[in-house]
């Protein structure tokens, strides 16, 4: 209905293969970018930045990372929390030990370090598949967390065992630590998220993405048409971990400002996995939807139960968990491919409106 594609024809492959070939889509994305970069900073309050917007961005990025691995390459991972921790702690070490390094590079390098760790734990994926692999990633999860709180070196031997990001600047604007203006921290997170999201989109619609999806859909056939399983999977692990690492670094530097290893425990891993599932396996835009959903839901529920209905915090928490679980089951039953698929279906409907098919 909104989609009027008559007269949109392509006279070259580069036009046909553009990242958003349909005019209306381009407008749509543009709209969102304007909102994110201009409207939001003008309107949002401190609370919004701290409780909703920045975590949303951070988790979107992490979700995107995990989605590349699970959704595109079909390799289950329960180690996301651990990898985010790697990102966070690398950022901490870099920021404290190499103060002259610009925060942007701090974050990027943290991502690269995480990528290496990811590759390391991805190696078994050549021989093991499915749930077996999930266990391998669990090993990563528990080992890494254990490592971070057992070895003082990672926290510069601070007795509390927790780490805090020093104030850092970009072009003289302070962007990290409690002293920084939330807007600045928001822009930091937003910048990384948007750029990386675009890169991810390009990756998954290109040869790399095709190789991943081939492995996902039918690894045997994939190998028989000449796709190297290990190399392909490791690429997925690397890229995925890089994204997650950057997310971890942002979690720490742009959002929480302080952290301790337990913040990145197995539950975080599961949360991110839920964001992927509910957002939609194998979808970039879905990763954002999933993150938004899971970030907003608890806030909404808490406000509802405690705020409106006046339940005890404890009951509220339990109710929350229950509803959370129920929703997940519901989603899987109704639309196993998540919000992204729903969006896609609606979009298709809009394109062929008023016809049903």
């Amino acid at each position: 209905m909104l989609y009027r594609e008559t007269g949109q024809f392509k006279t070259s492959y580069s036009a046909d293969q553009a990242i958003f070939p349909i005019f209306q889509d381009r407008m749509f994305i543009l709209g969102w970018l304007i909102v994110a970069f201009i409207a939001v900073p003008l309107m949002a309050s401190e609370y919004w930045f701290q409780i909703i917007l920045i975590p949303f961005l951070v988790f979107s990025l992490a979700t995107l990372g995990l989605n590349i691995l699970v959704g595109y390459c079909g390799q289950i991972s329960l180690g996301t929390g651990g990898f985010m921790a790697v990102g966070a702690f690398s950022a901490y070490k870099l920021a404290t030990n190499v103060p002259e390094l610009n925060i942007i590079f701090v974050i990027l390098i943290s991502g690269l370090i995480t990528a290496l760790v990811g590759i390391l734990f991805g190696l078994p994926s050549l021989r093991i598949k499915g749930f077996y692999l999930a266990v391998a990633t669990l090993a990563a999860q528990f080992f890494l967390i254990w490592m971070f709180n057992k070895f003082g070196w990672f926290v510069n031997y601070s007795p509390s065992g927790s780490i805090a990001i020093p104030p850092m600047e970009i072009f003289g604007v302070m962007v990290t630590s409690a002293k920084a203006d939330p807007v600045a921290r928001y822009y930091l997170a937003l910048g990384f998220t948007v750029v990386l999201a675009l890169l991810a989109k390009n990756l998954v619609r290109g040869p790399t993405g095709r190789a991943w999806m081939a492995i996902r859909d039918m690894d045997i056939a994939a190998e028989i048409i000449g796709i190297k399983p290990l190399a392909t999977k490791l690429k997925a692990f690397a890229v995925s971990s890089f994204f997650i690492g950057v997310a971890g670094a942002l979690y720490f530097s742009a959002w929480s400002g302080t952290a301790e290893s337990d913040a990145f425990d197995i539950n975080l891993s599961f949360n991110i996995l839920f964001m992927v599932i509910i957002g939609g396996l194998g979808s970039v835009v879905g990763s954002f939807m999933g993150a938004a959903f899971i970030v907003l839901l608890p806030i909404f529920l808490t406000n509802l139960f405690v705020g409106e209905l006046g339940f005890s915090a404890l009951t509220a928490k339990h109710l929350e968990i229950t509803i959370f679980g129920a929703l997940i089951i519901f989603f899987l039953a109704v639309e196993p491919h998540g919000l992204a698929r729903m969006w896609q279906v609606t979009k298709e409907k809009l394109r062929i409106w008023p016809f049903p098919h």
Binding site: L199, P207, A211, D217, M218, I220, V239
Partner: protein, 272 residues
Amino acid sequence: MSAVENPRQISGEVLLNVEDISLSFGGVKAIRGVSFNILKGEIRAIIGPNGAGKTSMLNVINGFYHPQEGKITYKGETRSKMRSHVAAKQGIARTFQNVALFKGMSTLDNLMTGRLLKQREGILQQTVDMLLHAVYLGPAKRQEVVERKVVEEIIDFLEIEAIRKTPVGRLPYGLQKRVELGRAIAMEPELLLLDEPMAGMNLEEKGDMSRFIIDLNDQYGTTIALIEHDMGVVMDLSDRVVVLNYGEKIADGTPNEVSANQDVIDAYLGVS
């Protein structure tokens, strides 16, 4: 003026030679000491009753199964085992008995996966290429266009323009088979293994498929080895036929020779 069809020229050169191959899973012997060869440029049919070990034979040829005994000589170089993606690199492509497409992708993307083995080797290059694709600029973009051109010609060749952007999961069986053939062609193979390319097709579809196979063979000189149950098709298409039964070779020769062979007749009566 009048048409003079000239017969296809098949060089005597042997492309692939399998020597007393034996393959077994646990106790079960799937193939027992089978030997035969495939000449460059010919269409070679492998026939036999169900469970004769035909598919296993293909799996051995493209390195998916590793035979316990025997050796395979491909393009003059002998091997006992290799990984199937290596076989692919060396120019062996195949389709599968029950379609093995990537359900999550469109026809176009499925064919594009066939081009992946043309990518640059080496960790460094691969990483660089990946980054280039991520930013989708310069060489990466140009490469995409080049590959797309190749694939589009295949789409045109197989007359599947109308389903270019349809997810293959939604396609009827006949078309899926076609797309799978397309994916194999996209690999620009020297040896193409087709596992029952016409299974479950109606007359018209079979006709099309035969046409494609023939055109493929004499336009691109692709050597083809196919498993097929439809005898009519086998007789029309193939230059030579090898017959397997219970994992053993019982006949080998031109369609006519084979169809005259008593063992073959028995074997078939045996199953039907």
